[in-house]
Symmetry: C2
Subunit: 314 residues, 2 copies
């Protein structure tokens, strides 16, 4: 297994810079006060397709040889990676097939379709078979949502920008589902001398336990409002994060929702529940961040507004 490197992240940044947003960094006196730290928020919710996933998919697609690219790309996703891959394929002018579950929200289906991708609906049980079938028929390249070196390097560009925008960060906090975003952050953090901490829902704490135990545990299969974080940590992402001795902290669904509402009412930014995990982490474990320069990646903003509407203003 070859782990992606800092040079891969630099290459990714050069490759994708014209096709993704250089997202802004925000501060908030309210959060500084509550955490007792200097907190900086990297607004990947304002990224293309509404999430950092635009970076990794773009890097993977732009890294393909012309011959491979001509046969298109395929992935399975009910969420942001599907949109991100469809968007990247459109930019390169190649075909994309997105395998989605039957129960995928209509708004996400419409978004993927809007980027011109082909959608194949499936049951969870037949997902692998359908992916294999599409690959066999078309020769399309599978772009995995996180267990892919080019995807990890692409996600790392968010942290590469972050450390350039905010000098002397002590730590970057980011949510972890499959681990692409956090692995990218870890690679950049290693180089830049910045600590990196993951945040995940307590009911799907496989990453927390995997990195604590040094053994990759499977996904718990539980459900959480952090719908982007349900998947288990990947092989490659585990290897990257374990090698760097990274740790993960856990937060409850209620804490994630509260964090979302606080970001909306105090910072006027819409973030999705998965992003709320990282924000909740700095509030819950504020002692660990005291007096530090803290960077939080607001990983995405794709959420039904009705979820926001159920939250109290803080």
């Amino acid at each position: 297994m070859i782990l992606p490197t800092y040079d891969d992240v630099i290459d990714a940044a050069n490759r994708i810079s014209r096709h993704v947003h250089h997202t802004p960094v925000f501060t908030s006196a309210y959060f500084d006060r509550r955490v007792g730290a200097s907190v900086h928020f990297k607004a990947e919710n304002l990224q293309k397709v509404g999430a950092f996933k635009a970076r990794g998919a773009m890097n993977a697609v732009l890294s393909l040889t012309d011959e491979d690219a001509s046969r298109g790309v395929v992935t399975h996703s009910s969420g942001n990676h599907g949109q991100a891959l469809a968007n990247a394929a459109r930019v390169r002018g190649i075909a994309a097939t997105i395998v989605m579950p039957h129960h995928a929200p209509a708004v996400k289906v419409a978004a993927v379709r809007g980027y011109g991708a082909t959608i194949v609906f499936c049951d969870q049980a037949e997902r692998e078979a359908i992916l294999t079938e599409v690959q066999a028929e078309s020769g399309a390249t599978l772009v995995h949502p996180f267990d892919d070196a080019a995807v990890i390097a692409g996600q790392g560009t968010a942290s590469l920008e972050f450390v350039a925008q905010v000098p002397d960060l002590d730590v970057i906090v980011a949510p972890i589902g499959g681990g692409g975003l956090l692995s990218g952050a870890s690679i950049v953090g290693d180089y830049a001398g910045v600590d990196v901490v993951g945040a995940e829902p307590d009911v799907v704490d496989d990453s927390y336990r995997s990195l604590r135990d040094g053994v990759r545990h499977p996904a718990t299969g539980a459900s959480s409002i952090g719908d982007g974080l349900l998947t288990g940590i990947g092989e490659l992402t585990f290897a990257v994060l374990h090698a760097a001795s990274r740790t993960v902290v856990t937060v409850s669904d209620e804490e994630m929702l509260d964090a979302m509402g606080t970001v909306a009412s105090r910072m006027k930014l819409v973030i999705e529940p998965s992003s709320g995990a990282a924000v909740a982490a700095i509030l819950k474990y504020s002692d660990a961040f005291h007096a530090k320069r803290v960077g939080v990646i607001l990983s995405g903003g794709n959420v039904q507004l009705s979820v926001l509407g159920g939250l109290p203003a803080t």
Copy 2:
């Protein structure tokens, strides 16, 4: 009546720049497509106190002589101006008294109190008497929410930044309640050769009719979701806008709500209903903006999240 000038806006910018945010400008491929124009959004919802009002109040407070400042400031407001004046007074280290209606939302009362201001509750009928009383007792300077040259000049700094951030704007669209924001935009627009258009709820269309007829009409007294826009156009603001032959367009509450939801789901920004008026205007009157370089001021982001939650994702 002496109207504020472009030089006053420049002076205001120099005076307040260290105490307010230089807010970012965002674009959205979605809005460009829907309007058929190049649309730029000035994010005053990310301004201190969550609205452009921070600018005018700051300029008014920093413009006071030391002697006047020592006696404090007073205003009446149930909304953003109260917070803005309380914040400005805190920055200068002087006393502020905010006269608020008994029914003011608890969250707004808490915000004003959080800035260290004194709150006096009153009924609408006794408001003027209480303001007079506070002024008589303390010698405090009244800072009117909009009919004040220093406030107008301060609000103009939003547009001053905007035309510097986006060269060759054809038109700036902003909501109008009392008219401070739009008057400031008009002064800058005159100098920079940029057209300026106001947007207001159709049920409180006094500004629309006043500028159409060249006569200042009183507020309609109707209610609208655009709670920052219910007040009638001011004397001074009418004079500024009438002299520049500005026009106002009207939108329905439903169109404002739809615009808020679209900004939240497409741009991941929380805006208040009043801001929705300007966004709704470019969607409703897209023909008038076709192929132009359009600037929209997202005037504020102070809204109960439950309002957002009732909106469909677009």
